[in-house]
C-alpha cells in the first residue's frame, strides 16, 4: 500500500506509461512535480473517470 496523495481540481499530471505488475495487475506511472507515482488496483480503473486528457 502506498500513501494517499491529494490532487486539486484542474491540476495537470503527466502519464509516463502503463505496465503490468508481477501479479499481472495493471498500473499507471505518473509524473507529478518531478516525482514519480504509481496507481494500482481499483484506482487504476478509476483513472479515466477522474482525469481528462489536457
Amino acid at each position: 500500500m502506498g500513501k494517499f496523495f491529494e490532487i486539486k481540481r484542474n491540476k495537470q499530471v503527466e502519464v509516463l506509461g502503463y505496465n503490468l505488475s508481477k501479479d499481472n495487475q495493471p498500473y499507471i506511472m505518473l509524473n507529478i512535480n518531478e516525482k514519480k507515482y504509481y496507481i494500482y488496483n481499483n484506482d487504476y480503473y478509476y483513472f479515466k473517470w477522474r482525469f481528462e486528457k489536457a
Binding site: I7, K8, E14, V15, Y45, F47, W49
Partner: protein
C-alpha cells in the same frame, strides 16, 4: 417328487454358449473394429475377410481396403466434429453476423464490492435497442462473465447460445480493457 425340476422346453439352448448373431456373430466373423480394442484384446482374424481392416494393410486388395479407409476417415471426422463442437462446419457464425449491431458501449457505474473488486455496469445498443449489463469482479483473477438482460430477451434466446454469450462477453471485456489503458501525455484532474 421333491426333486421335480421345472420343465423348460428349450433349456438346452440357453445353457449352451451360443454365438448370438446380433452381437457376437459379427465380431467372430469379421473381427472387431481396429480402433476400439486395446492392445492384447484384439481377435486374431483373417484380414482378407474383414471389412473394417486397416486401410494400409498389404494383405487386402485395393478395392476391399476402400471400405476400411472410408470408415476410418468417417470416424476421424466424427471425432473432430465432437471435439470442435461443430464450429468448423457451421457456415454462418451468428456472433460475427451481429457484430455491427453492437454499438454505443458505455460504462455507467463502477462500484467497489465486498471483495474489494470492481463491479462495472455497462450499457450498449443491440439492433438499435439499449440493453444493460454488468461485469461483476471485473479486476478479479478470473476473467469476469457478462451478465446482461439481452440474453433473457425471448427474441434472442435461440440465437444467443452459450458460445455466442461467451464471445460477446470477451469482446466487450477486451474493448473495456483497452479503454482503461491511458495514453502517454498530460491529463487534467476533474475531481
Amino acid at each position: 417328487m421333491k426333486n421335480l425340476l421345472p420343465y423348460k422346453r428349450y433349456a438346452f439352448l440357453s445353457n449352451t454358449e451360443l454365438i448370438k448373431e446380433g452381437s457376437d456373430f459379427l465380431q467372430y466373423q469379421f473381427g472387431i473394429e481396429p480402433f476400439s480394442s486395446a492392445a492384447g484384446y484384439a481377435f486374431a482374424i483373417d484380414p482378407k475377410l474383414s471389412y473394417q481392416n486397416y486401410q494400409d494393410s498389404p494383405y487386402t486388395d485395393f478395392y476391399a481396403r476402400q471400405h476400411g479407409l472410408v470408415t476410418n476417415v468417417i470416424n476421424v471426422m466424427k471425432g473432430h466434429r465432437s471435439s470442435l463442437g461443430d464450429s468448423m462446419y457451421k457456415i454462418d457464425n451468428a456472433f460475427i453476423e451481429d457484430l455491427d449491431l453492437f454499438k454505443n458501449f458505455k460504462i455507467l457505474r463502477m462500484f467497489e464490492n465486498q471483495k474489494l473488486k470492481l463491479d462495472v455496469y455497462i450499457a450498449f445498443d443491440y439492433d438499435e435497442e439499449e440493453y444493460f449489463g454488468v461485469y461483476k469482479d471485473f479486476n478479479y483473477i478470473m476473467k469476469p462473465k457478462l451478465e446482461s438482460e439481452l440474453f433473457f430477451d425471448t427474441r434472442n434466446t435461440n440465437r444467443m447460445n452459450p458460445e455466442y454469450r461467451l464471445k460477446l462477453s470477451n469482446y466487450i471485456y477486451k474493448k473495456m480493457e483497452k479503454w482503461f489503458i491511458p495514453e502517454k501525455g498530460w491529463y487534467k484532474c476533474l475531481a
